[in-house]
C-alpha cells in the first residue's frame, strides 16, 4: 500500500544501544497489531502459533468505567493495553476464561495479575515416595495442596507492565497461606526475591504473592445476590458445578444494590485453621497400624483437632465480621453518584479488610478488582509472633580424659 517502500519505517529496528523506552515500545508493539520482534534460536522470527479463540473475556474497558466511579483504576490507554495483554494471554494459553484480577504494587516494579481458568493442565508426576525426615523416619504427613480446586481453582499469571511477558504463578500450598497470615511484607516486583520473615515463609516472593492473591480472592470477590445460583436439590459438598450462573438474573437497581445483604461471596472461604477451603484429616498411619492405638478407637482421639466447618457458600457480606478489635465494618458501600439518573448509578463496595479491593455493580453488570499493596488491614500494629522459647542450653559434656592406648586396649580385653 505504501508506495515508498524504500523509505518505509518498519519495526523492528536493531540499534545495539537501544534506550529502555525502545525496548518497551518493541514489547508492546505486537500487542497493538505491530509485527512481533521475537526471534527464535536460529535468528528467524518465530512463526505465530495457532491461537486459542474460544474464551470468555469481560469488556474490560466498560468495567473500567464502573471502577472509575468507585475511584479506582488506570488511564484509558493503560486499560486498553491491559485488555490487549489479557486477550493475548488467553490466545496463547488454553484458557476457557480470563479476567483482569488487578494490580499489586511493588517497591521496584508492580504486578499486573490475570486470573484464568485453563482448559487443561500439564500432567504432573505424583510424588510416589513417602517423604522422609532427614533421619529416614517417615515424615509427619503435611496438609496437602488443593489441586485445581479450592485455593487453586484458578491459575494466575502476572506481568510487570501490560505487554510484558506473563509469568504463571505456582500453585499455593496450605502452609504458604497459613504463613502468609502471620507476616507482613512489601512486594519488590521480583518473583524470585527471597522472603525474609519470621516465622520463615516456605517459598519466595512468587509464593507469597500467590498466597495473598488466594486470600484476597476468597475474601473480597463478590457478586450480587441472584447472579449465581446454588443448583441441585442435594448438592454434594464441594462438587464443582454446584454453583452456577443464573441465566435469569435480571439485575438490581442501585437502591437494591446499596444494601450489603444484596451481595454475596463468589468464592469459597479459606478455613481459619488450615490454608485450604476444605478440612483435611491426616490419614491414620498405615504401616505402623499393627501397633494398635493405645487410647482406643479412631473417633475418640482427644489430640485430634476437630474439623473446621467452612462458611456457607454465597453468604451475604453483611455477615462478614468487623475488623477485630474495632468497630470498622468489613465493607463500606455507597452509591457513587448523586446526580446521575438512578438507572445509571454505580454502586461500589470497598473492602476495609483488604484496602484496594473493590466491587462495583450497575443494573445487570458487576465486577471485582484489587489494586493495592497486597496487605491486609489488621486494625492494629503488626506484632510478629514470638520466636519459640530459646532451647535450654545443652549441658556441657563432662570432660573426660582421653584414654591412653594402653587403657583402651585393656578395656577391649576386658569386654
Amino acid at each position: 500500500k505504501y508506495t515508498h517502500e524504500d523509505e518505509k519505517d518498519e519495526i523492528p529496528l536493531t540499534d545495539p544501544e537501544e534506550p529502555e523506552q525502545v525496548a518497551w515500545a518493541k514489547a508492546v508493539n505486537p500487542l497493538h497489531g505491530g509485527p512481533s520482534t521475537a526471534v527464535g534460536e536460529d535468528g528467524e522470527p518465530i512463526p505465530e502459533p495457532e491461537k486459542n479463540a474460544e474464551f470468555e473475556l469481560p469488556n474490560i474497558l466498560r468495567e473500567a468505567d464502573m471502577f472509575e466511579w468507585a475511584g479506582v483504576g488506570m488511564t484509558r490507554e493503560e486499560t486498553f493495553r491491559i485488555m490487549l495483554a489479557v486477550k493475548n494471554l488467553a490466545e496463547t494459553k488454553p484458557a476457557s476464561s480470563v479476567r483482569f484480577w488487578g494490580k499489586i504494587h511493588g517497591t521496584v516494579s508492580d504486578y499486573y495479575v490475570c486470573e484464568t481458568v485453563l482448559k487443561e493442565h500439564p500432567p504432573e508426576e505424583e510424588a510416589e515416595e513417602t517423604p522422609t525426615e532427614d533421619d529416614g523416619s517417615p515424615k509427619e504427613p503435611e496438609v496437602p495442596i488443593e489441586k485445581h480446586t479450592g485455593c487453586n481453582k484458578y491459575d494466575y499469571f502476572v506481568c510487570s507492565f501490560p505487554g510484558g511477558e506473563w509469568h504463571q504463578l505456582p500453585e499455593v500450598t496450605p502452609q504458604q497461606i497459613m504463613c502468609g497470615r502471620l507476616v507482613t511484607k512489601y512486594f519488590t516486583g521480583d518473583l524470585e526475591a527471597p522472603v525474609i520473615t519470621y516465622p520463615p515463609f516456605p517459598g519466595v516472593e512468587k509464593n507469597l504473592l500467590r498466597a495473598q492473591i488466594a486470600r484476597i480472592t476468597a475474601t473480597t470477590f463478590l457478586c450480587p445476590e441472584g447472579f449465581l445460583t446454588q443448583g441441585g436439590e442435594e448438592g454434594e459438598e464441594d462438587a464443582e458445578g454446584e454453583i452456577r450462573q443464573n441465566e435469569e438474573f435480571a439485575g438490581l437497581t442501585a437502591e437494591e444494590m446499596a444494601d450489603l445483604t444484596k451481595w454475596v461471596h463468589r468464592e469459597e472461604s479459606v478455613l481459619q485453621r488450615m490454608g485450604r477451603t476444605t478440612w483435611w484429616e491426616p490419614p491414620k498411619p498405615e504401616g505402623e497400624g499393627d501397633e494398635e492405638g493405645e487410647e482406643g478407637g479412631e473417633a475418640e482421639d482427644p489430640n485430634k483437632e476437630p474439623a473446621e466447618e467452612p462458611k456457607a457458600r454465597l453468604a451475604t457480606v453483611d455477615l462478614d465480621e468487623v475488623v477485630p478489635g474495632t468497630e470498622i465494618p468489613a465493607w463500606s458501600i455507597r452509591v457513587t453518584s448523586s446526580l446521575s439518573l438512578d438507572k445509571y448509578k454505580v454502586v461500589a463496595l470497598k473492602s476495609n479488610r483488604w484496602p484496594g479491593a473493590y466491587t462495583v455493580g450497575c443494573g445487570k453488570e458487576h465486577s471485582n478488582i484489587y489494586v493495592g499493596w497486597g496487605r491486609k488491614f489488621e486494625g492494629k500494629p503488626y506484632n510478629p509472633p514470638l520466636p519459640p522459647p530459646i532451647q535450654e542450653e545443652t549441658l556441657d559434656l563432662e570432660e573426660q580424659v582421653d584414654p591412653e592406648p594402653e587403657e583402651e586396649y585393656a578395656a577391649e580385653e576386658a569386654a
Binding site: 521496584v108 507476616v183 507482613t184 520473615t197
Partner: protein
Amino acid sequence: MDSDNLYSSLNYISALGVTLSPEQRGALQASLPLLKINHKFTNLVFWGRVYAEREDYLVAQGWDKSAINEERQSFYSQNGITWGKLPPLKGKLINEYPDLQGMFTGDPSKRLYEAPPPAEGEEAPPPAEGEEAPVDENYLTEEDRLAYTVMIIDKDTCVVPRGAYIHNSKHEVVPNKLFSGLSEKDAMKLESYYHLGEPERLKAKPLMDRELLDKTIDFLDPLSEDGPYGCWSLQTDPAKSLVTLKNLLWPGYLFFYNISTRTHGQVYMGHGERNVDIAFML
C-alpha cells in the same frame, strides 16, 4: 495537583491505580476556582483524598506567596462542592492523646478524645484580663485529626524536583522560572528530589558540607536522607517518560515528574494512617 489542570494530572497518578469519579472531578472543577478567588490565593492544588468508612474527605491547599508547606492553608470537602477550612492544630491535646489510629469514619464532628477535667487544685488559671479563655481546646474531633494528618503527611512528603523552587530575595519560596528540568539520569535518582518544607536536617549539617551547596537551590532537605532506608519507591513507567515516587510510610502518596515536559505534582489518596509496620515490611 494543580487545580487548573486536574484532569491531566489525574492521568499521571494512574500508577497508584486510583482516580476520582466523573462526578467528583466535575464538582472540583466547578468549586476550586471559587475557593481560589475567594481566598485570593495565587496557587491552589488538589491535595488528595483521605478514605473514610463513609464519606471520604477531599482536601485542597492554597497559598499566596511562599509555596513552602508550612505556609499553606488546607480545606476539606466531602461532596466536592462545599469546602470547610481545616481548624488550627490542637497541639497540646494531640500530645496528650497520640493514639490517632484507625480508619476515619467520615463524620468530621465525631469526638475522639475529651480532655479530663482539670483535677482539683490544678484548675487552669483564670484567663488574664483582656484575654479570652481558649475555646474548643478540651476535645479532639475527627476534623482535628484530619488537620493533624494533613500536616504530618506534608512534613514527610511534599516533594519537588531539585531546582524547581528557589528562595527569593523576599525569603519566599517560589517556583523557579528558569527551571530547565532534570536530566533523564538525574530524574532516576532520589537525590534529585527535595521536601518543600522548612529544612530540618540541613541545619544540622556541618558548615563545611553546607558550604558546598548552591544556596538558592539546595535550601531544602533531600528525600535521599529520609528514614527508614527504602521508604521511597522510585519507579519509571515502561516508556521512561514519567518518574513516580511512592512513599511506603504513607501508602497512597504519589509524586510524579514528567521528564519531557518538566510537569510535576503529587497527591495523597490513602487512609490517613502512617504505616507503623514499615520496619517489618522492607
